[in-house]
Structures are given as C-alpha cells and as structure tokens.
C-alpha cells in the first residue's frame, strides 16, 4: 500500500510538543548535527570547551544555529534541524545526563521532571493530537 508522502508528513505537525526528525529537518540541520558529532572525539571536546565561539567558526552553520548552541536552547535547536541523538554530544560534553538535558526541553525543573518519571511518566491524555484535543 503506497502512502501519500504529503499526508504522511502533515500529520506530524498535529502532535503537541514534538518535532519529528524529517528529511527537511535533516537537511536544514546537517552541519549543526555534524558539528555536534565532532564532539565524539576527546581532542575536539578540549578545543570546544576552551573557546566555543572560535570552534563554531569552522562550521558552516547559520548564525541562528550557532547562537542556539551557545545558549543551549535545545527546543530551538530541534526547530533548526538538530536531532536529539546528535545534540546529546553537546550536553554530554557539558556533563549532563539525558534526563537532565531532556528536562530543560519540557519546561520543568529537573526535580519535577524526575518526580514525574518516577510516578509513571507524562500521560498521553490530551497529548496525542492538537486538532482533536485528545
């Protein structure tokens, strides 16, 4: 069964608080993600930590992407084509765990976020569809 690609993609925008990593985002975020990937190497992490702005000069990213990296604004980075597994290289270099970094995107404090997870996580009720409000 062939699926219409436009209908397939349009549904993604109906999910609350979620940026699905589509090819459009992958294209926009190519250099952002490749920059993040470079932090897999210890010598690059050292250079990065010594002077973040200078390190970014070598990467053909947009000014917006560079600023969002410097600001550690992860929701903005998702909007600009970042993928979470690549962005993880940035927050890991900062010494943050997945729970700590992910909590910053949820708008909750780390403590509140952890408490929510221990209590069974975020309920899907009302979080499935913007249009249908379910």
């Amino acid at each position: 069964m062939t699926q219409d690609i436009h209908e397939y993609l349009a549904e993604f925008d109906d999910i609350p608080g979620t940026r699905v990593y589509t090819t459009k985002r992958a294209r926009a975020g190519y250099w952002l993600n490749q920059f993040a990937m470079s932090l897999m190497k210890a010598e690059n992490r050292e250079k990065w930590l010594a002077d973040e702005k200078a390190y970014l000069e070598d990467w053909p990213m947009t000014d917006e992407q560079k600023q969002a990296v410097l600001d550690r604004d992860y929701n903005r980075l998702l909007d600009l084509g970042g993928n979470i597994y690549f962005l993880a290289k940035i927050f890991s270099t900062d010494g943050l765990s997945f729970v700590q970094a992910v909590s910053t995107m949820s708008g909750m404090s780390e403590e509140d976020y952890k408490a929510m997870m221990m209590a069974g996580g975020r309920s899907p009720e009302g979080m499935r569809s913007i249009k249908e409000g379910r």
């Binding site: 397939y8 979620t18 993040a36 597994y85 690549f86 729970v99 992910v102 949820s106 979080m127």
Partner: protein, 280 residues
Amino acid sequence: MARITAGVATSHVPLLGVGIDQGKMDDPYFKPIYEGYEWSKKWIAEEKPDVIILVYNDHASAFDMNLIPTFAIGCADEFQPADEGWGPRPVPPVNNHADMAWHIAQSLILDEFDMTIINKMDVDHGLTVPLSLLFGQPDAWPVKVIPLAVNVVTYPPPSGNRCWMLGEAIARAVESFDEDLNVQIWGTGGMSHQLQGPRAGLINAEWDQKFLDDLTADPERLRHIPHIEYLRETGSEGIEMVMWLIMRGALGPMIKERHRHFHVPASNTAVGHIVLEKET
C-alpha cells in the same frame, strides 16, 4: 542446517548499561529493572545459542548524517564498543559469525531486500546493553552476534510491515545456511519514550502492554501500526518498536511467550522485555 529457535525483545536504555558497568545492580532504582532479567539469564545459559542476530539502531555513533542506511548488516569479524562521548563501555568486543552474516546479506538481496553491507563499525549501547542484560559481565560474550542496524532516527523509518517481511526473509536465509547452529533473533529498543521537546517524558504503559500481548495474541495488528500511531501514542522515540517486528516476523506463526517484564522508568523510558520461543 541453522535454525531460529527463539526471539528476545528488550529495551536498550543507555542507563541500564551504566548501572551494570558501575555495579549498581542492587541500587533501589535499578533493582526492580534488573530483577526482570533474572529468568532470562538462566534461560539463555541453558539455551546456549550459537548465534544471535541482533536488531538494533545506532544513535549517532557509527552512522552520522553522512550515511543513513535503512537496513545495514555488519559483516566484519569483530566490532568494538563505541565511544559515545564518555569513553567506550567496559564490555568485550563483539564477535560476528561473518560467514553467516555474508550469507544472510546475499540471501536478503536476492530476496529483494536491498541491504547495506558494513564492515568497519563500532557498536553502541543499542547493541551492547541488551547483551549485558542477558549475559551480565563475562570476559567474552558467549555467543556470536550478527549486528543488524535499522534507521529509526531520520523519518521515514521502515514500516512495521516492511520490518516484519525482512524478519521472514531473515528466517529463510538462516534456514538455507548449511551449518548446524542454534540461532536467536533479538529485537531491541522501545518501549514508549520521548526524549525531545515539551512533550518529553511521555510514557504509555497501557499501549506498551497491549503491544506485548499482541506479539502472541494478534501480531497481524502490530504489523500494520502506522508510524503516526507510534508517534502519538508512544512518544517520538517509541518508533524503535518496529525493530521488534523484525524479530517477530522471523519467528513464524507458532510461538509461545515464556517470559515478560515491564517497568517504568529507566531514565526517560518504559522498559519492556519479552522472551518468545518457537514451537516445533
């Protein structure tokens, strides 16, 4: 002849590797998670599989944005644990059954699955955490492992139905390998979790439990779950569960559930684990 005897599915949360590597097995946070694997550890010690076809996804470790293979099969003799940014996990290298891996690769391509063949590749937590959960901390893994990596990061990932059909083709390929081997197939990742955006932390235990039920009760339903349902119901990373369907597709119609474990949370994730045996 080689034969598939059983399927295992498990989450591959990186934190579960950290807990084992740092000796936190009895920590109150971890204990209820690891306890659910005790049965499986005894079971696999008795089953002694020769080869595991381990279906997993790479998390920006071996594959960056330069190469995004939908289905890739590891064909080298050995794979090292990846340095994911904080040093490689202290686990043994993974030894492949390379003859069988190449045989599966060529059989799948002839069977119209256009596989990517990969030799030089480090394997990340997606592959090594499941091995640690089932085998603990041995000096060497007591089994050969054929890595089968699936793209579930960049959309569109393969459909559940395509994964199922790949599983069926893998079973045919195994059966035509002329060596007497006990082969298992593992599907890893999941269950519900979302690691990004304001909706992060989503967990849907009810949906996950139904998925576990239907691996035996109604696998046809699972096969046709569209991507949008995984996204809405199980969070942006719940899509990893399509990899469980490669395992399920390879087992055929006659199977029995032997063991199940479900726990929330491990880090941001609902942990699910199931052991399915093929009935002969």
